[in-house]
C-alpha cells in the first residue's frame, strides 16, 4: 500500500491522520521507535480520538489547525470521513461527521478526492484485509465547498452522499449480498413463551436466562425490575433473532442456540456480533401487549427512526386460523413487496426462492438483493425487506 514510487514527489503524499494510541505506542522500545520513524516518513498528524478533557481538546484543535495549514499550503490530508472504520462494514450517509466540512469551510478552494476502497471478501472490521484477497476501489474528485454551502454539516452531507453513491457502485461489482437485514416477531401471549417464568411473570429461571443473555444484557434486564422482566427478555430475544437473520445474509452463520454470540443494547438500539465485532442497528416497529416486532440492518441501508425514513419495509399480520403460518408469511411477504412498488403491482409477478437456504425474491426471473426476511410466532407472522 505504501506509494514508494511517489517518494520523490513529496507533495503528492498526503498527510495521514492516524489515531495516536493506535500507532504511536506499539510494542517495545525498538518496535515503537521503528513505527514512529515509519509514521514520520509517511507524514502523519496524530489525532487523539478519546478524551473530553482540556488537554485532549487542545490536541484535537492543534491537529485540526495543522490540517488547515497543510491544505492552505497546497498539500493533501488523508482522513477517514467517519473518523474511524464502520463497525457494520457500511458507510451510513445519514450520519455524517463534520470534520471534513469544517476543513472545507476553512479552505474553500480545497477539493475532496473521495475513495471507496474495500477488499472483495471484507465482511467485518479487521486489522488487515483477508490474505490473498483483491482490493477494488471507486474514486471521484468533488468540490470542497459550493458557494451556497454555509455550514460544515451541509458540506459533509454532500460528501457523504457522494461516498454513499460510490459505495453503491462498488457493490454492483461484488458477489456479496449488499442488503443484509432481518426481522423477527414474538407473540407475547404464546403459552410456550411463559414456560420459564413464574405465573405472575415477575421471576424467571436464571439458568434459562443465562443461556440466552450475556452478562451485560442480564445486568440491563435486572435493572428493568420484576415488572419489566418478561417483556424485557423477549425484546432482547426478538432483537437477537432479527440480527441472526441479517447476519445470515452476510454469510455469517450464528450456530443454533448460540444466542450469546449476539449482544443487544436496547438503549442504543445496537447489537454486536461478538465473534466478528460487527455492529447492527435495530428498531422495534411493534411493541404492544400482544406482540413484539424488530427489524435489524447490518448493511445496505438505514434502519430508520421516528424522524428519518428508513430503507426497511415490513408487515406484521395475524395468521388466520387453520392456515399454515409458513405459507401465510410467504404470501404476506409477496403481497407487501408488490404493494410497495408501482412497477410490480401484483404479487403474481414475484416468486419466492429458497436458494442457499435463505428466502429470496425473484422478479422477472432474476433474484433480487432485497434481503427478504420471514418470521412467525404463535398468532403472528411478519416479513421485511430492504429497498435501498
Amino acid at each position: 500500500m505504501f506509494p514508494t514510487s511517489r517518494l520523490i514527489e513529496d507533495r503528492r503524499i498526503p498527510w495521514s491522520t492516524p489515531e495516536y494510541t493506535n500507532y504511536y505506542k506499539l510494542g517495545g522500545p525498538v518496535q515503537s521507535a521503528f513505527i514512529r520513524g515509519l509514521l514520520y516518513l509517511c507524514r502523519c498528524i496524530p489525532f487523539l480520538r478519546g478524551g473530553e478533557d482540556a488537554a485532549s481538546e487542545t490536541w484535537r484543535q492543534k491537529a485540526f489547525d495543522k490540517c488547515v495549514w497543510v491544505l492552505k499550503e497546497g498539500g493533501a490530508v488523508f482522513v477517514y470521513p467517519e473518523a474511524g472504520r464502520a463497525r457494520s462494514g457500511w458507510l451510513e450517509p445519514k450520519r455524517p461527521k463534520d470534520f471534513l466540512g469544517k476543513l472545507a469551510l476553512e479552505v474553500p478552494s480545497s477539493k475532496f478526492l473521495c475513495v471507496y476502497l474495500r477488499s472483495d471478501r471484507q465482511i467485518s472490521t479487521t486489522a488487515a484485509p483477508p490474505r490473498g484477497d483483491r482490493l477494488r476501489l471507486v474514486a471521484d474528485l468533488i468540490e470542497g465547498k459550493l458557494p451556497e454551502e454555509t455550514t460544515a454539516r451541509a458540506i459533509s452531507q454532500r460528501l457523504f452522499d457522494r461516498l454513499a453513491a460510490m459505495q453503491q457502485e462498488w457493490w454492483k461489482g461484488s458477489d456479496m449480498a449488499r442488503n443484509c437485514g432481518g426481522n423477527d416477531v414474538v407473540d407475547l401471549k404464546g403459552p410456550l413463551l411463559r414456560e420459564n417464568f413464574s405465573d405472575d411473570l415477575t421471576e424467571a429461571d436464571q439458568e434459562w436466562l443465562e443461556r440466552h443473555l450475556t452478562k451485560k444484557e442480564l445486568a440491563a434486564l435486572s435493572a428493568l425490575g420484576p415488572e419489566g422482566l418478561f417483556r424485557g427478555f423477549w425484546r432482547y430475544f426478538c432483537a437477537k433473532e432479527a440480527c441472526h437473520k441479517a447476519l445470515g445474509r452476510a454469510v455469517i452463520v450464528v450456530p443454533n442456540g448460540a444466542f450469546r454470540e449476539i449482544e443487544v443494547d436496547l438503549f442504543r438500539r445496537k447489537a454486536t456480533h461478538i465473534p466478528s465485532g460487527l455492529q447492527l442497528d435495530i428498531r422495534f416497529t411493534d411493541d404492544d401487549e400482544d406482540k413484539l416486532h424488530c427489524v435489524a440492518v447490518l448493511r445496505g441501508g438505514y434502519v430508520g427512526d421516528e424522524q428519518t425514513e428508513g430503507d426497511v419495509l415490513w408487515s406484521v399480520g395475524e395468521v388466520p386460523q387453520g392456515t399454515s403460518p409458513g405459507a401465510f408469511v410467504r404470501d404476506l411477504a409477496l403481497d407487501m413487496i408488490a404493494a410497495s412498488n408501482d412497477e410490480i403491482g401484483s404479487a403474481w409477478k414475484l416468486a419466492l426462492t429458497e436458494d442457499s437456504g435463505l428466502p429470496g425474491v425473484l422478479w422477472k426471473g432474476a433474484p433480487q438483493d432485497w434481503s427478504l426476511s420471514l418470521s412467525h410466532s404463535g398468532r403472528y407472522a411478519a416479513a421485511s425487506f430492504m429497498i435501498s
Binding site: 517495545g28 515503537s32 479487521t126 486489522a127 454492483k172 422477472k364 433474484p367 429497498i387
Partner: protein, 371 residues
C-alpha cells in the same frame, strides 16, 4: 419458584443405563410440547430436525434452549466434575465424578439439530458410551442442513408451479420466467447434492471464511498485546486498563470464533464423507427436487390457452388457438428474460410507492403496522 413447565417434570435417569435408542426416544418425547408440526413429530426418527416445518418438528427458535434444558432435566451422568480447561483458566470442562445432573455447556449443543445428533452429542461428551452401530443410523449435521435446504427448495418450486398453473396470459408468462429460474436453481442444487465432493467444496468456503475471521482476530489480539507492551513502558495505568479490557474482549471473541470454526470445520469435513444413511436421505431429497423440476418443466411446455379452449374442432381448434396464443412469443429474448437485474433493481429502489403507510418505516407513530 413455580414455573409453568412444572407440569412437565420427569424423573431423571442415569444416561449410562439406557440404550442409545431409548435415550433418543426420551429426548424426542421431551420436546413434544414444543413441536408445532404434529404430523412430522408423530413420524419423527433419529434424523428428524427439531426446527423447520417441511420435514422438521416445527419447534420455534424461541424454544431452542428448552430442547437442551429438557435433555439436561431427563438424564443423570457421572461427568459432573468441573475441571479447568487449562491452568488458571476460568473456563472448565466436565470430567468423571459423582453421578449428578447432566450439564450441557455453552456451545456444546451447536450441532444437535436432531434427536440422533443429540444422542451423538452425549456420546461425544463422554456422558454415554459410543455406539458405532447407532451412529451409523444418524445423519451428520452437514447433511441435515444440506437436505433441509433441498426440501425447502423443492417445496418452493412445487408451490410456485401450483400458482403459475392457475394463471393465464401475461401473468402466466411472468410467473413462468420466475419458475424457470427456480428450476435452474433446483437443478443446480440437485447436481450439488449428487456429488459429495462438490458439496464439500461449497461447505469449505464457509470454513475458509470462518478461518479468515479467526486469523484476523488473532492478528488483532497480537496488535493489542503490542499496544499493551508499548503503554506499559510509560506506566499509564488508565491506558493499560483500557487496553486490558480490549484484550479481554478480543479473547472472548476469539473463543466464540473458535467455537464457530469448529462447527464449520465439522460441516466441511462431514459433507465430503457420505455414508449409507446420508445417501438414502439425499436420494429422497433429490427425488423431491426432480419431481418438482419435472412438474415445473411440464407446465412451461404446456400452453394453457389450448387446454382451456372450449371444444375446438380437431383441425381448426389447434391452429386457431395458436394464432392468438401468447406462448408463441415465449423466447427468452422476446420476453426480456433476465434483462438487466441492476436497472430493474434501481428503478424499484427509486420508485417505491409510498404504499400502505402501515408497512413504511417512517410511520410508526400512525399506529401499529399490523395488517
Amino acid at each position: 419458584m413455580a414455573f409453568m413447565r412444572k407440569q412437565a417434570v420427569v424423573e431423571a435417569v442415569d444416561v449410562n443405563t439406557l440404550t442409545p435408542e431409548d435415550t433418543e426416544k426420551r429426548i424426542t418425547a421431551g420436546v413434544k410440547k414444543y413441536a408445532t408440526n404434529e404430523a412430522n413429530y408423530a413420524a419423527a426418527d433419529a434424523n428428524t430436525p427439531y426446527l423447520g416445518h417441511i420435514v422438521g418438528m416445527g419447534i420455534e427458535s424461541s424454544n431452542l434452549a428448552d430442547i437442551t434444558m429438557s435433555i439436561e432435566r431427563q438424564f443423570l451422568t457421572k461427568m459432573t466434575t468441573k475441571t479447568p480447561v487449562s491452568e488458571g483458566s476460568a473456563e472448565y470442562k466436565l470430567t468423571a465424578g459423582e453421578l449428578g445432573k447432566l450439564r450441557i455447556l455453552d456451545g456444546q449443543d451447536a450441532l444437535a439439530a436432531t434427536p440422533g445428533l443429540s444422542v451423538k452429542m452425549l456420546m461425544d461428551l463422554g456422558h454415554m458410551p459410543k455406539s458405532d452401530a447407532y451412529l451409523e443410523k444418524v445423519m451428520s449435521f452437514a447433511y441435515v442442513m444440506a437436505t433441509g435446504d433441498g426440501w425447502k427448495m423443492a417445496d418452493a418450486l412445487k408451490k410456485m408451479a401450483g400458482k403459475a398453473d392457475k394463471l393465464a396470459g401475461a401473468e402466466r408468462s411472468e410467473a413462468l420466467a420466475n419458475l424457470k429460474t427456480l428450476v435452474a436453481q433446483a437443478k443446480d442444487y440437485d447436481a450439488l447434492l449428487a456429488d459429495a465432493s462438490k458439496l464439500a467444496a461449497s461447505k469449505a468456503k464457509a470454513y475458509t471464511n470462518d478461518k479468515a475471521g479467526f486469523d484476523a482476530l488473532t492478528t488483532e489480539l497480537n496488535l493489542t498485546l503490542d499496544k499493551i507492551k508499548g503503554v506499559s513502558a510509560g506506566g499509564d495505568a488508565a491506558a493499560i486498563a483500557k487496553l486490558r479490557g480490549e484484550e479481554a474482549e478480543i479473547r472472548t471473541r476469539l473463543k466464540m470464533s473458535a467455537a464457530k470454526l469448529r462447527v464449520s470445520q465439522e460441516v466441511s469435513e462431514a459433507a465430503g464423507k457420505r455414508r449409507a444413511i446420508e445417501d438414502a436421505q439425499v436420494s429422497k431429497v433429490r427425488a423431491a427436487l426432480q419431481e418438482a423440476v419435472s412438474l415445473a418443466e411440464k407446465l412451461s411446455e404446456r400452453c394453457p390457452w389450448r387446454r382451456r379452449k372450449s371444444k375446438p374442432s380437431a383441425s381448426s381448434g389447434r391452429s386457431a388457438a395458436r394464432s392468438w396464443c401468447p406462448c408463441r412469443s415465449w423466447s427468452p429474448r422476446s420476453r426480456g428474460f433476465i434483462s438487466g437485474t441492476a436497472s430493474t433493481r434501481t428503478s424499484t429502489a427509486s420508485a417505491p410507492r409510498s404504499g400502505p403507510s402501515s408497512t413504511r418505516t417512517t410511520a410508526p407513530s400512525s399506529g401499529p403496522p399490523t395488517t
